[in-house]
């Protein structure tokens, strides 16, 4: 019966994972060639959620295009907004008030925790444990609530604008962050008990989806994926923006290169983010939350590039300006796109269950890949 459909000449099965599939977390479409249970080839087919944000941004003003970027990597929308704001600010040459810088970094790190927590639950679900997902959402909910108070949104924040942040912090902000910190610290041990130290989980992760340091660099991997292969690439550390240069932050590196290393790196990054938040939360300087900018922004003719570290890796914004109200060309360098390109390399020769674990460990967000 299966003869006529989906077989290669060698008799391998060709299977579509996605675009509707429980473990692709969106509309990713992987065409995989299977020999029994062994994956021989993975071919990503993208574009199911391609909205051509780059083309749209060419007809939006410098204030407007930032909102589109919240819809790219929706799990770290604060950081995407941050990258765009930084890029526009390069051309505006305004001094960003320190309060705004601190707020941006705080929000960025809270977003990173929220994103990593969700990833933790989703990864556990990919390898078959459903319970951690709900526990992850319990913590994420707190973060969403406290962001909602300040930004008015829970997912697409649109809070950071050229010159600073859109509104000042909500009066409850500090108290709720403190509450979150104390709650999260007790929960992170629970995470280890439930998942990290589980023998089945370790077996599913160790030695799976290995990528060497050289390959990680060559594939343009960034973020936790590259750092788990020992590539030092944390933009916050290498090219500090806003006040990242002044806070104590350790770059988490691991040389395992496999799914387990990526898991450990992200778990430790949550701790690092927590420490950054602790350093800043009681020291938010007073002052303006936004620098004075003109009503209509125009960037001088030229090219601008800014890079920020999102929860998934290096996010780059490349603006070519002709001195008009709208950018001439915008290119978003999304971390997920490059990380995904390595999936074939990682998954070859592994089992189909491993492919799912690898997808989970890459922390793919499909709108970020398709843009």
């Amino acid at each position: 019966m299966l003869e006529e459909i989906g077989k290669t000449e060698e008799g391998d099965l060709i299977i579509n994972i996605g675009p509707q599939h429980p473990s692709t977390h969106g509309v990713l479409h992987l065409v995989i060639t299977l020999n029994g249970e062994t994956v021989k080839k993975v071919e990503p087919h993208l574009g199911y959620i391609h909205r051509s944000i780059e083309k749209m941004s060419e007809s939006l003003s410098y204030r407007q295009f930032i909102y589109a970027t919240s819809r790219m990597d929706y799990l770290s929308s604060h950081i995407n907004n941050h990258g765009c704001a930084l890029c526009v600010e390069q051309g505006l040459e305004v001094e960003i008030p320190e309060r705004a810088q601190v707020i941006r970094v705080l929000m960025g790190e809270l977003t990173r925790i929220a994103s990593h927590v969700l990833w933790w639950g989703a990864l556990a679900m990919d390898v078959g444990a459903i319970t951690p997902f709900f526990h992850a959402f319990r913590e994420r909910e707190l973060l969403n609530d406290l962001m909602e108070e300040t930004c008015g949104a829970r997912l697409t924040m649109n809070y950071m604008v050229p010159g600073g942040v859109m509104f000042d912090l909500h009066p409850n902000f500090q108290r709720r962050v403190h509450e979150f910190i104390s709650m999260f610290k007790s929960k992170i041990g629970e995470y280890d008990e439930l998942v990290t130290n589980n023998a089945i989980f370790i077996n599913r992760m160790k030695g799976v989806g290995y990528i060497s340091r050289e390959d990680a660099i060559s594939y343009g991997c960034s973020g936790p994926v590259a750092r788990a292969s020992g590539v030092s690439c944390d933009i916050r550390k290498l090219y500090p923006y806003d006040i990242y240069g002044k806070v104590q932050l350790e770059e988490v590196l691991d040389d395992g290169g496999d799914c387990y290393a990526r898991y450990i790196v992200r778990m430790k990054e949550m701790q690092q983010s927590l420490s950054v938040i602790e350093q800043l939360i009681d020291n938010i300087p007073s002052g303006d939350h936004m620098a004075k900018t003109k009503a209509v922004l125009k960037l001088p003719k030229g090219e601008y590039y800014s890079r920020v570290e999102t929860a998934r890796g290096e996010f780059g914004v490349y603006i070519v300006s002709e001195g008009k109200m709208t950018p001439y060309r915008i290119k978003y360098r999304s971390p997920g796109f490059s990380n995904l390109s390595a999936i074939d390399h990682m998954a070859r020769g592994q089992k189909i269950g491993d492919l799912v674990a690898i997808m989970g460990s890459l922390d793919l967000v499909i709108p970020d890949i398709d843009r």
């Binding site: 299966l2 429980p22 679900m125 459903i130 709900f134 077996n203 089992k351 269950g353």
Partner: protein, 336 residues
């Protein structure tokens, strides 16, 4: 005529039990998972959501049972019934209370081992006939898995058979009148019990061994293409299977309907006898079911090669050595 009437009554009881158990177990699973996942679970239909599964059944009944165009129609529609019939046959030798047993066959344990192997046929049928690559992969996984784990399950059953000296279920229960095997049998019985629980979890395709379904890998594995009542039959069969294997576990290791007795403490034993035997049986069975559900909502899934490694490299050698140990214990009379 009387025989015929008996047949009808027994059949109706079986089907009724089948349906009620299905409803109860599905609700229990949802409540247990909700408890572990800091949720409330079903709580709208009926008191505390008790009628939720009934509503779900009605929904499934009214849904269209699709047959994919490329499927082998006959086998595709046959598979869920094979699954259900195989499971129903297993209800026959199980004593639900003292003297309440449909068929006290003298090779009861052997019968159960034999008939429970039928489950794999329905899964293979479903996977093959669906003409879906996910289903096929799921079915093949399931085939490899059930055939492997049956060995360990069988060997751990043999451990108790060696101690009892009988294949008949009523004899096995009677032999535990002075204490359950789990207490009388020392370490070897504990090993047998642990292997048994692992093996039957795998045999019923439950997480962490749910590779045949493996939601995150194969969407729904062997029953990807099933919908409506045909899907419900698979679903039901899975839960009844859990009930049956847990009942067998309770019979072999915890004495079935036998109350908690300690050696010759007459007074204590008599007090225990006041608790009805059916309560003992269902209490033990549902405790084991809870344990198996607990596994499901805690552990990640194994990979197929790890699953087979676990069986062939660890469980099977251990249970083989364990059978020798048990034989030694039985011959030397070291058990209580």
């Amino acid at each position: 005529m009387a025989l015929f009437l008996e047949f009808v009554i027994a059949g109706l009881l079986c089907i009724g039990l089948f349906a009620i158990l299905g409803l109860v177990l599905v609700l229990m699973e949802r409540k247990v998972s909700a408890y572990m996942q800091i949720r409330l679970g079903p709580n709208r239909v009926g008191p505390k959501g008790a009628l939720q599964t009934l509503a779900d059944t009605l929904k499934l009944l009214s849904k269209e049972g699709l047959t994919p165009r490329g499927a082998d129609r006959f086998l595709f529609n046959l598979a869920p019934f094979v699954a259900m019939i195989g499971t129903m046959l297993l209800l026959a030798p199980i004593p639900f209370a003292k003297g309440f047993q449909l068929w006290d066959i003298n090779i009861g344990v052997l019968y159960i081992s034999a008939v429970s192997s039928l489950a794999v046929i329905s899964i293979l049928l479903a996977g093959w006939a669906s003409n879906n690559k996910y289903s096929l992969l799921g079915a093949m996984r399931s085939g490899a898995q059930i055939v492997s784990y049956e060995l360990s399950a069988g060997l751990s059953i043999i451990a108790i058979v060696v101690l009892t000296g009988s294949l008949s279920i009523s004899d096995i229960i009677a032999s535990q009148a002075d204490g359950w095997w789990i207490f009388k049998g020392h370490l070897p019985v504990w090993i047998a019990f642990v292997t048994f629980i692992i093996a039957v979890t795998a045999e019923t395709n439950r997480a962490p061994f749910d590779l045949a379904e493996a939601e995150s890998e194969l969407t729904a594995g062997f029953h990807t293409e099933y919908s409506g009542m045909k899907f419900a039959l698979f679903f039901l069969a899975e839960y009844i299977n859990i009930f049956i294997v847990c009942a067998i576990g309770a019979i072999l290791f915890f004495g079935g309907w036998m109350p908690f007795h300690i050696g010759n403490w007459e007074g204590f034993n008599r007090i225990m006898d006041y608790i009805p035997s059916s309560v003992w049986f269902f209490g033990k069975t549902f405790f084991l079911i809870f344990v198996i559900m607990w596994f499901r909502w805690t552990f990640p899934r194994l990979r197929i090669d790890q699953l087979l490694n676990l069986e062939w490299k660890y469980l099977l050698p251990i249970s083989m050595v364990n059978v020798l140990l048990i034989t030694l214990v039985a011959i030397l009379g070291w058990h209580f």
